[in-house]
Symmetry: D2
Subunit: 193 residues, 4 copies
């Protein structure tokens, strides 16, 4: 079909509520903080445009906890990911999905929530580019979502791994990996392609 479909976005923030209390967390932290800085700006601007924000977050095997517990754990205890959680603190009107595995779509209601919100275009941000972002991107692609993965809003353990993951997502799932500022302009002033 040659019909033109208006993009209806959601911003997905992947695994950014994260205590980083695993051995390689020390390597990931500076990259995650830098990406989080851009995600926080993007989130602030994009909410003004009415785009829903969904925290898609690992449950870290804590099946008896819910999202608010995870947020409290990361904010109130002396964990490595505390500065990250402080930047990424959810608002009351943000959505969240707890995922038990790498992909945000696996054994979760994410697809139902996106249908409920009438979304067809996903902005993926978070950590890590080669794992949870990549797995979520693949599953989104098979479900026919258009993908925007701003390169400055994704982090991995090294810049090299991150660049390779972004390149792969551009090639394989046809993601637009323009920076968050370019994406924001595009959302504000959509032009006919």
């Amino acid at each position: 079909m040659s019909m033109i479909t208006t993009p209806r976005y959601a911003l997905l923030m992947i695994d950014l509520i994260n205590d980083l209390e695993f051995p390689s967390g020390v390597d990931l932290l500076p990259h995650a903080l830098e990406a989080a800085h851009h995600v926080a700006l993007l989130k602030k601007q994009i909410k003004k445009l009415g785009v829903p924000v969904i925290y898609v977050n690992d449950n870290y095997g804590r099946w008896q906890s819910d999202f608010r517990h995870l947020v409290s754990h990361c904010l109130q205890e002396e964990v490595r990911g505390k500065p990250l959680a402080e930047m990424m603190k959810p608002d009351e009107d943000d959505y969240f999905i707890l995922k038990p595995q790498y992909s945000g779509f696996f054994a979760t209601p994410l697809d139902l929530l996106l249908t409920h919100l009438n979304v067809n275009s996903l902005i993926l941000t978070g950590v890590t580019g080669d794992m949870c972002v990549q797995f979520t991107a693949n599953d989104a692609y098979m479900r026919k979502y258009s993908l925007f993965i701003p390169s400055d809003c994704v982090a991995s353990h090294t810049n090299e791994i991150n660049q390779r993951a972004l390149h792969t997502m551009k090639e394989v799932v046809k993601a637009d990996i323009s920076s968050s500022s370019v994406l924001l302009e595009q959302i504000k002033s959509p032009t006919i392609n």
Copy 2:
């Protein structure tokens, strides 16, 4: 295969954290309270035997709430289901799954949690027998779980509807619908069938 498999149970409590603030809630309340009385006793006894307890609860379209919010909403506000929530108050070590639809398995991590807990036999309790209990039972049956649905621990809008649902689940998904006291004896003193 003729191998004997030891039953490893989980107790599922379906939609018992429920404000009942819908028109027919007034009809359901007395039936739900009576079932909840039996569920509370069963839960207390069964936890002593190490059986995990999982609240499988509707999110009622509140995608920005989590389970603790639902519990607070039902306990602290003047809602119809308040006495029900008071009887069904979760413990810190109970598990929970928020479901967006009738079946506890649909678009949730319930099956993963049950695998994680190494469970092969489900005790289904809650409301309503002909809707969420029935839908969850069907999905459990297709996933090869043995089903125990104690007849005194399930409620529907009328006794007739409840009896018909129990009869159907006995016939179709081969559920054992013995009362909770009989089930408890069986768990305590398993005999070779």
Copy 3:
């Protein structure tokens, strides 16, 4: 939303390619043949209206067979379900889904095919009313399809079981259980409800 949605139908024929070579098959056969008579008429008429026809059929644990093998097995061997298969013979342009379990949606691409065909309303027919038709109806209801289950096009092992299943599907999943002739008139001459 108060928008009016045009129904776009698909006819699902459940487990009608069936050798009936199981003990209770002898009881099911006459009921299945009677339903199949009505299904064959409905199929013929409805195809003229451009409604797609999908065989949703058990694989009977034959993971190395495909649908054409099942059809051949039922048509060419001296099996109990041979007269049924003769009435239900698929056309070249019919679709089919092999299901490994009771529900046509469980571990199959049925939902994707229905999306591909742009369908929002399902006409369920076949055997048995209390098992595969019921399980498929429940899963369809959770996926927001409107349901039409013509009472003369569904069969079970006894009339009583069939009537109870139809009643349940009318009550629980809001199925329209009008006969196939009434349904056909409705499809031909839709009126604003």
Copy 4:
């Protein structure tokens, strides 16, 4: 748990029944044929050891065809993938799964079939390394299968893309990418790790 689990393998052959009638098929063909040569040898040897073989094949949007039709189409018509199909011709006792999307697990009964066959270790082969093999590998990893992806049995449009995909699968989903001859020795003479 520190228990030792015996590997129980299945060989998955991904998209090797393929007419290659798409623009880039001309680039893929020589790489696919070289991989198919190794897959054919591996298949022959591994079947002697009792390992089940599963064709996991795209349906190419042909919802009215089944696997045997796809095989016939590729064998009997003058299509680009004919020599590939000739090398990859299925035996009567091979299994097959038609997949509507990139991952062999998405909207298919593959996981059920693997459970039925009591498999915990997958040998992935086929095309293309960066697409269907990669997507299937990710989904297998989330379902806890051990992965063996023999580097000589996977092909992509260029060697560079193939190498990058293999590297990613080694790093991200912990796949053993040893060659098929090394894998075969390991299956024949398992040693305690």
